[in-house]
Amino acid sequence: MAEATAVEARAHAEHEHHGPKGILKYVWSTDHKIIGMQYMFTGMFMAVIGGFMAYVFRMQLAFPGLSVPGFGVVSPGEYNALITNHGSIMIFWVAMPVLIAAFGNFTIPLMIGADDMVFPRINRLSYQVFFLSVLVLLTSLFVKGGGFGGAWTSYPPLSANSQYNLTRVGASMWLVAVMLEFVAFLLGGINFITTLMNSRAPGMKAYDIPMTPWMIVLASIMFMLSVGPLVAGAIMLLFDQVLGTGFYDPARGGDPILWQHLFWFFGHPEVYVVLFPAMGITIDVIATFARKKLFGYKTILYTAVATSVLSFFVWAHHQFIAGIDPRMANIFTITTLLISVPIAEMIFVVIATLYGGSITLKTPMLWALAFVGEFMIGGVTGIFLGASGADIYLHDTYFVLAHFHYTFFPIAIIGTFAAFTYWFPKMFGKMLNETLGKIHFWGTVIPFNFIFIPLFILGLGGQHRRIYNFQNFPELSVPWMVHLRIIATVSLIVMLAFQLVFFVNVVWSLRKGPKAPKNPWNGNTLEWTTESPPPHGNWPADQLPVVYRGPYEYGHPDREEDYWPQNLPA
């Protein structure tokens, strides 16, 4: 053991003095924390773009035909490009890079007590491919014909045939960008999975791993196993666009429904791919701020595995009106309703953890609690859509749109803020301002509900999605509908304005905020045992932590302190 430590220490010393200096240190680094931050800042930049797009098309929907401040009059083609790229950006370039890549990179080695990922250079390559995909996507918005406007689901024949979508270059560039993004996440995912499997601190058994790394790795496995058919499908779609094949053209022996199968075989597990990291983060935050042992660690893990398996058998619930066999619809209704059981179980476990806890409502805790509450609204409305009978009426209305925003917004925005405020002291070595944090929290969560509850009502009232100008539809332009659309748009603007508070908070805290101690929240997990921010290699090479217990030993009766770090010998 001593000899092994000496070898490790030597290996480490050489590792530390390796690599470029200066600004290149940040661009060309193989350190998992730097790569995590590259992913995070790129994701935040994309979130600003995606948010701006939402602002422009929401203005067009509330005040059709008027010039939008900061953009101008929205043409039909621009409207299509805006909604398509808003969806694509928010899922592929915000939710995925921030929740999985940024927090996965930052937390996995720190929380399992390793000095880095197992393949640091592949990790760097993953970000570089991802960055390339960002460049391709952003360029596609400015090519001849404009950005792709065939919706983020990219259904053929609209996406396959430039006679229909009128964006020959934009459509192919969008597809290439998405494929590059998949490659980046496959590279990153293999790294995450292998790191968690092989590089845990001595003594850390499977049930001693905190939930955040577990969930990010389960999500990576799900992503890896579901994205393959879509990669194949995307190659076929690209050939249809560029080489003139007819994979999705029924006139030439193809089948447009094939794309829907390949897309949703990935697209539905993808929901859980982004949900899992947010769920893991929420669980870690809630256990820390409730000062109570997580209720049912294994239950969460098993339900997560059950969700992963089931998520591969629900995809056709997106296609109930695409002409699939009603008997198939029956089967997919049953699997879809079944998958709500393990998810509900997770929520119950979180609530049971809160029960009898000693709760402090710090900003990260507020975000985590909001995630649970808001995600439940998204989950419950999903049951309406999973039942094929109800879905026939609700399909392609704003009810669907509001439903998936009630799942994705809690995941990608609320969950991200929970993680960001929770680990900010560890990432940057400074404490965030609590007051500004709480203003930002309420200024985000309240307007969020005022955006999407009106959209639920509008959807039930029959308002269809993907309509450029509601004035062309007199039955959708009655006063109450117009008013609800304006309420949603104004709420969006309020919510976007409150994000300024967040940026002010971050900048102010980085410059003037109090210095963060090693363990500001009295957490048990390993990342709190090193400096804030951790040095390259995370711990001194001869002091890498050893694990003696699970991550959630809060409020143990035999101890004076209410927490029991994983690395303290018994």
């Binding site: 000095d115 499997m197 196993l225 022996g253």
Partner: protein, 189 residues
């Protein structure tokens, strides 16, 4: 220098071998999706058999033989690497690389003759799948050959000998994909 994380092995499986199996897991679903789509279409279009009758089964069979032989030399390379004989491992990998390029050369001739006969990728659904599936496989052959060059170079210097095994696992996978492609594209008439 590698981080400590890379040298740890909580599962008892070397990190590189673990990673390569996950790479293959992600590849299987890519080819699985493509071949699944092909099989469904093929069942729905019995007339595609007419197009399939024009594929050169003999060339396909020869390529199968070449690929299987190259996998055999990859195994011999692995054996040599296990014994710590880097020179021999590198030499066997060179044979595998030669096999890969023989395969690609033969495939180029085959495709050129088919395209001359008018069977392009746009000709019909069968040819679209034929070129897409075999092309994706050929890309994997090419990537494998290039990676093997680096592994062989290191092996000759007796460095990173464990990589001979990893690249061999990948090569067997490329082989297995072809074992599925050959009957589906050539033999099923």
């Amino acid at each position: 220098m590698k981080p400590i994380a890379t040298t740890r092995s909580a599962t008892g499986i070397p990190t590189g071998r673990l990673a390569i199996w996950w790479v293959l897991a992600s590849e299987i679903v890519i080819f699985g999706g493509l071949l699944g789509a092909y099989v469904m279409h093929r069942i729905g279009h019995p007339e595609w058999a007419n197009a399939a009758a024009h594929t050169h089964t003999m060339i396909g069979a020869t390529n199968t033989f070449i690929l299987l032989t190259s996998s055999f030399t990859a195994v011999l390379g692995h054996q040599a690497a296990e014994r710590g004989d880097g020179r021999k491992a590198g030499t066997f990998l060179v044979f595998t690389i030669i096999g890969a390029f023989l395969f690609l050369t033969l495939k180029s001739f085959e495709w050129a003759s088919e395209i001359r006969e008018g069977f392009t990728i746009q000709a019909n659904g069968f040819w679209s799948f034929y070129y897409t599936a075999a092309g994706l496989h050929a890309a994997h052959v090419l990537v494998g050959a290039i990676v093997m060059m680096f592994v062989a170079r290191d092996a000759f210097r007796n460095r990173e000998l464990q990589r001979v095994e990893y690249v061999g696992i990948y090569w067997h996978f490329v082989d297995v994909i072809w074992i599925f492609l050959f009957p589906l594209l050539y033999i099923a008439k």
